[in-house]
C-alpha cells in the first residue's frame, strides 16, 4: 500500500492546530437525523402512526433546512464547496486527498451526503402520499394521488427504509475504515465542531445564527404547511 504510506508520512510531519470545521447547524442536523431515523423506525414498527407522521415532518423540515444551508451556510456546509466532479473523486480514490490539508467533506464523502439526503427525501416524500383513508393513517398529501398510486407508494415506502439503512451502514463503515486508514478522527469534529488540521488550513467561519434561524423558519414553515395538507392543494 504505497499510497497509504505516502499519505501518512507527510501527515505525521505536518504541524497542526485545532480549528473550526463544522458549524452548529450541520452538527445539530446530523445528530438530529440519527435520532429521528431511529424514531421513525420504532414508531413504524409499533404502529404509532401519529408519532411517525409528526416525526416525519420534523425530518422533512431538517432535510429542507440542510438543503437551504447548503447554499447559505458556512464554507464546509455549502454544496458548492464540497461537491466535486468525477475527476476529484478519482483523485481521492488514488490517494491524492490529504486530510490534514483539507477540511470538510472529501470528494467521496460529498457523494455520500448527496445520496443520504436524496434517499431520505425520497422516503419522506413517499410517506406524505402513503396510506389509505379507509384503512388507518394517511400522509397529508394522500388525497392528491389515486388509490392505486397511493397503494404502490405505500408498498415502496414499506421496504425502502432498507435502502436507507444500507447506505447508513455504508456511511458508518466508511467513517470507520477511512478514519482508521488515515489515522484521522472523523467523528470528534462532527460532535465538537473542531479538529486538527495543518496550520495553513483556514478555520471555517463561526455559525451565522441569524441566517440559521431564517433558514429554520423557512424550512419549518414549509414542513408545517405540508403537514396541514399543503392547502389549497388538498
Amino acid at each position: 500500500m504505497t499510497t497509504e504510506a505516502a499519505a501518512a508520512a507527510p501527515a505525521a510531519q505536518t504541524s497542526t492546530r485545532s480549528i473550526r470545521i463544522w458549524d452548529w447547524p450541520v452538527r445539530l442536523v446530523h445528530w438530529s437525523i440519527v435520532a429521528l431515523i431511529a424514531g421513525m423506525y420504532l414508531t413504524a414498527e409499533n404502529s404509532e402512526w401519529g408519532w411517525h407522521m409528526r416525526l416525519g415532518h420534523v425530518l422533512l423540515a431538517l432535510l429542507i433546512f440542510r438543503v437551504i444551508w447548503g447554499f447559505v451556510g458556512t464554507e464546509t456546509a455549502r454544496f458548492g464547496s464540497f461537491v466535486k466532479g468525477p475527476g476529484a473523486v478519482l483523485g481521492y480514490l488514488r490517494g491524492a486527498y490529504d486530510y490534514r490539508r483539507n477540511k470538510g467533506h472529501s470528494p467521496l464523502a460529498a457523494l455520500s451526503v448527496l445520496a443520504l439526503l436524496g434517499l431520505m427525501f425520497a422516503q419522506v416524500g413517499m410517506g406524505l402520499f402513503a396510506g389509505d383513508p379507509y384503512d388507518g393513517a394517511t400522509g397529508p398529501l394522500n388525497p392528491l394521488v389515486g388509490v392505486m398510486t397511493a397503494d404502490t407508494i405505500t408498498e415502496t415506502h414499506e421496504w425502502f427504509y432498507w435502502v436507507i439503512f444500507a447506505f447508513i451502514a455504508l456511511h458508518i463503515t466508511a467513517v470507520g475504515v477511512i478514519g482508521a486508514m488515515q489515522a484521522t478522527n472523523l467523528i470528534g469534529p462532527m460532535i465538537g465542531g473542531t479538529g486538527e488540521k495543518a496550520v495553513e488550513v483556514e478555520a471555517n467561519q463561526p455559525t451565522p445564527w441569524g441566517r440559521a434561524l431564517g433558514a429554520l423558519a423557512v424550512s419549518a414553515g414549509i414542513a408545517f404547511w405540508v403537514y396541514l395538507g399543503a392547502p389549497p392543494l388538498t
Binding site: G50, P133, D135, G176, G179, E196
Partner: protein, 164 residues
C-alpha cells in the same frame, strides 16, 4: 489526537454502532409469548389484505372515469365472500393483549355484541355493493363505496389498534 489508543477508538466506534444496530433487531421477537402464534392471526390478516385490495380495485375503477363493471362486480363478490369468513378468525387469546404481533384489540372479546354488529354491517354493505354493482350505475356504486368504506372504518375505530 496522537497515539494508538485514539486510533483504535476511531476504528472501533462505528463497528460497535453497527453491532448495536443489528443487535436491536434480534431483540424484537422477545416480546412475544412462547409457542407459535394462533394461525388465525395470519389468516385474518391475509383475508383483510385481500378485502382491502378488492376495495381498492373498486375505487380505482371509479377514479378511472370509465369503470369496468366486471372488475367491480368480481371485487364486490370477493369482499362479501371474505366478510363471511370473519366469524372463525377471532378465537379468544389471539389479540394484542395476549402479546401477539397483531392490531386486534381486547375490545373484540370485551364487547362481543358490538363486534358482531360491526361484522354484520360489513356483510350488509358488501352485499349492497354486489347489488348496485350488478345494476352498473357508477354514481350509485360511488355512494355505496363510501358506505362500504364506512363499514371498514367503523370496525377499525373500535376494534383495531389506534392509528393516530
Amino acid at each position: 489526537m496522537t497515539g494508538k489508543t485514539s486510533f483504535r477508538l476511531i476504528a472501533i466506534t462505528p463497528a460497535i454502532a453497527l453491532l448495536a444496530a443489528c443487535g436491536g433487531e434480534a431483540g424484537d421477537s422477545a416480546t412475544q409469548p412462547a409457542g407459535d402464534p394462533p394461525a388465525e392471526i395470519e389468516q385474518r390478516h391475509d383475508n383483510f389484505e385481500e378485502i382491502g385490495d378488492s376495495f381498492k380495485a373498486i375505487r380505482a375503477q371509479l377514479e378511472s372515469g370509465d369503470p369496468d363493471m366486471a372488475v367491480i362486480q368480481a371485487s364486490a363478490t370477493d369482499i362479501h365472500e371474505r366478510a363471511g369468513r370473519l366469524d372463525g378468525y377471532f378465537p379468544e387469546g389471539s389479540g394484542r393483549d395476549a402479546g401477539w404481533d397483531t392490531e386486534a384489540l381486547a375490545t373484540i372479546w370485551e364487547q362481543p355484541e358490538e363486534f358482531e354488529a360491526a361484522k354484520a354491517k360489513l356483510l350488509e354493505e358488501s352485499e349492497m355493493m354486489m347489488t348496485v354493482a350488478a345494476d352498473g350505475d357508477a354514481a350509485a356504486i360511488g355512494e355505496q363505496a363510501k358506505a362500504l368504506g364506512g363499514a371498514c372504518k367503523n370496525c377499525h375505530d373500535t376494534f383495531r389498534l389506534d392509528d393516530d
